[in-house]
């Protein structure tokens, strides 16, 4: 049955990581170097080597993920281990340096490592939370199906608006032009689309028309819901155009709900991917810093 990355194989790697932590803490407490614990003692070197090997292995996950035909464990198992052992790395690295920090390349490596790990934590959070949100938001439709429906509503709305008035037609046309789904990183993450504007404009158009007809200006306020608007329309004189307008608003609100869902879908997907654009480049930087750290340590000898 389905197992999440945290419970994979009865959380086998959680126990491995815990054991690693306990052994490291035990040795650290037992070991009493002179003058203070640091990276230069035998334990410091041992933990440093373990840490460096761990980093190398954690980096290999990127390779493993792309080795589709390997029979070396499942990707899920690797990811589970990647998370738990990556978390344990915080402790291993801190014990390795004996909590000594400074403004140097060594601490730079540590800071980079922590950044990588914490961006990874965000990733774990996102992976556990967003999939279910995404499914709920989609309501059993695919993104393509929703986009198709939007395009279709656009067509129908345009045809309907054509029969009402040129200004309404223009409003709908502009709404179609204004509906932008996806785009740059920021747009994707903000989950905004231009579909709201159309409804506001149509509302204005109704108000305007009513003013021209000598009726009272529509008592519509900004926060009013579409349902209220439909009620409002129903109260108006029963003419064909009003009826068409009401249908148009129905269509546009359906479109708006779809567009909102698509935008949110894109947002969720973007969030699930964006952190990797921090996690992966930082880990490559970490690799460089780590090599510099190791190399420079040899000059102390």
């Amino acid at each position: 049955m389905h197992e999440s990355i945290l419970t994979h194989a009865r959380s086998r790697y959680l126990w491995v990581a815990l054991a690693l932590c306990l052994v490291s803490i035990g040795l650290y407490v037992w070991h009493d170097p002179d003058p203070v614990p640091n990276g230069g003692t035998w334990l410091g070197y041992t933990l440093g080597t373990i840490g460096a090997l761990l980093i190398m292995w954690l980096l290999l996950f990127g390779v493993r993920k792309r080795s589709y035909s390997t029979s070396l464990g499942s990707t899920r198992g690797w990811l589970s281990a990647h998370i738990y052992l990556g978390t344990a790395l915080i402790l291993v690295a801190l014990l390795h340096c004996g909590f000594q920090f400074g403004w140097n390349v060594h601490t730079l490596a540590l800071v980079l490592m922590l950044l990588v790990i914490f961006s990874g934590f965000f990733g774990v959070y996102v992976y556990l939370r967003y999939p279910a949100l995404m499914t709920r938001n989609r309501e059993n439709a695919t993104r393509d199906a929703m986009l198709e429906e939007i395009a279709e509503i656009d067509q129908n709305a345009l045809a309907l608006a054509d029969g009402i008035a040129p200004e309404i037609h223009a409003v709908v046309l502009r709404s179609i032009e204004n509906t932008r789904l996806g785009g740059g990183v920021w747009t994707q993450l903000r989950a905004r689309d231009g579909s709201d504007i159309a409804i506001a404009r149509i509302r204005d158009a109704i108000a305007q028309r009513n003013t021209q007809l000598g009726a009272k200006p529509a008592p519509l306020k900004a926060g009013q819901t579409i349902i209220a608007m439909v009620d409002f329309l129903a109260d108006q004189a029963d003419d064909k155009q009003t009826e068409a307008l009401r249908r148009l608003i129905d269509m546009l609100s359906r479109k708006r709900s779809l567009a909102t869902r698509v935008a949110r879908d894109i947002q969720y997907q973007a969030i699930m991917e964006i952190w990797l654009y921090v996690h992966v480049p930082l880990s490559i930087t970490l690799l460089a810093a780590l090599l510099t750290h190791i190399l420079s340590v040899f000059f102390y000898w």
Binding site: E3, S67, S69, S71, R76, M134
Partner: protein
Amino acid sequence: MAERFRIAIVGSGPGGLSAAARAAERGESHVLLEAEPHLSNTIYRYQKGKYVMDEPGILPLRSPIPFVAGLRETILEAWDESSARLKVNVRHRHEVKSIQRRADGVFDLACTNGAKFEAQAVVLGIGLQGNLRKLGVAGEDLPFVQYQLDDPDAYEGETIVVVGAGDAAIENALALAKQNNVVLINRKDEFSRAKKGNEQAVLKAIEDGVIECYYNSAPERVEALNAGRKPGRMILSTDKGRAQILLDRVIARLGATAPRGFVEACGVTFPSKDPASVPAISPQYESNVKGLYIVGALGGYPLIKQAMNQGYEVVEYITGSVVEPADAPLLKAKFSGLGGFRSVDEALARIQKNVPVLSHITPLQMREFMLDSDIRTPAEGETIFARNDYTNSFYSIVEGEVRIVVEGQAASVVLRRGEFFGEMSLISGRRRSATVVAGRNCILVETPRRSMNRLISSVEAVKREIDRIFIVRAIQSRFAPEATHEQLADMAANATLVRYKAGDNVFQEGEVGDCLHLVRVGSLTISRNIGGKDVVLTYVAAGNYVGEMALLGESRRSATARAAIATETIRLDGDAFKRLLAKIPVLKLRLQKEYRQRTAANLAMQSAPEGGDIISFLMAQGAGEATDILLIDESLCVRCDNCEKACAETHGGTSRLDREAGPTFANVHVPTSCRHCEHPHCMKDCPPDALRRAPNGEVFIADNCIGCGNCERNCPYGVIHMASKPPKKPGLLQWLLFGRGPGPGEAPYDAGIKKDGQAKKAVKCDMCKDQAGGAACVRACPTGAAIRISPEEFPAYAQSRR
């Protein structure tokens, strides 16, 4: 006055054309009658640039016209050229409507255009496509009434009336509606015959006003108009009265009339009513009507090369020459392992003599049967197949004996010369129920599923014999391995085979139960009515029984058993069963034990009815006929598509699964991916028999695929498509270090660029049978969202998702 020829050949497909060419080459008096204005209509109708393959590769070609794998155009051109060079006497637009054999042995052939011919011998090579059904009303042959649509984009801004409610009509209507005004005429009030996807699409198009549809309507007549903007009109009778449509074009897609009716009218008999059965023909391809020969697909030989060879041979036979069939060397090689081999005919006769079930079939069927089959001479003690293997071939014992190792029993059952085995998996489509080990001096004939099924459907006696043995063995293996055949005879005699359509009730909750059912093909769901709602409790796969509860105490059915898919059961009479229980006391104990387990499982499910909803949902997706299905937990899936990438990377660049498509219920998503059905729909009509089942159950496509697309059309789940191999990618390190793209998991450079003339073959999931670690999609899933399970695990799966 009728023209007279020695040989009249009907149909200019590969078989007919080859026969005519051979007759022309030999200077025989002949005529080739073709309904269409071109040769080989079936191949002519292939899409432009289609790559035609020449399987089976081992069979040599024997024909005066050339044929090698290549483009449709090249092949047709070569055929036109050689038919002109050999001066084949072809008459186009001559559709034969009747063939009658006179008392003096001469055939009278009449064509729809009034032409008449006389011939001493007739070669029928009309294939299986049949004739397109016409409107059947006045005006059906007007120039703007067509029965086929090659390129929907060729029409623009027209009013087109599409008649029909099948897939072809819907697909045409939808494609034409893009730039035309389309009216659809449906005789019924629904589109029940169409595939689900097509039905939904057309209903939506009608609702949106893209297509106008007349339900419960039929064309009354079509007329050409001289005045007005439209060239014609159709008068339509609807349930609200008569209607008139002014139109530019009528496209009628009413299917084809199977050629069987015509063939039967010629006097040829078919062995059974089964639509898959083919007429019995002699080794010289002569039917039961003397002088009437049948070649090609109509006679059961769907491949181009086979048909061409037969066309050549049939002319030799008619003219009295002796010719060894082209397949003789193949058979000789096959029989070479057989001790004391003298000739092919002798070996065939020996097998038929030794195996009674094969004695009912004609020599030509036997030849075909042996061409497909393998002769196996396993050493003593060698395992022929193991319990739980997924193979589905059929074995006949020619010499020696085999032992069937029954689980949990020291003594094994011995089968001897003349008996057969392997019919259980062949029929149920499920795993082998026992291990079979070779005995001394054992010679077996192993027949693949397709050939055996063809034989079963064309020879009634074979079917009867296999069904009889199946029932006895099924009862024995499922209930009473220790019982003798005599003890079971009573029950077997009272057992009947019952068929159910998907959704039919086998029995209903509350009914009085007087029998039990052993599921032979398909599967059932067991449900109870709880609080007015049907709650599915469990799923029963082929090989298991239901209804025993009512015989063991309770007299009424405690639950409803419903066929999840098309299902066949063995109905065992309750009284006979009770008599058997009395004879074998241990059986009662065994049944009671199983009964207790089932009741406990049912109670567990009843306490968590949401689990039943998941089973119902899976069944609605056709999982009832699956053997292994990919499920994605959408609460874990991060939509990284690594599953699809892994599939593409391990399978020549084309993913065989579509993660996003497919329905979701309670976070359980059924992606578009092969379920490895028990009776795969894709295997139904594969000319080269390229769809196979591996021992672990994987349904895969072998390399001899000819790219005909039948499997793609037959798969109800849309998991097969046609693809050509993309170019090779650089390795991981090259990509990582030198930026050579595309990298692992990335789409190839020219994906989507269609190259004409490149061989496209069918691709589908093979469950990574050649991958060491198992299914790549599941292994590549980083979050554990993707799993593959078999239907037996559904109840447990449903419970795990509470």
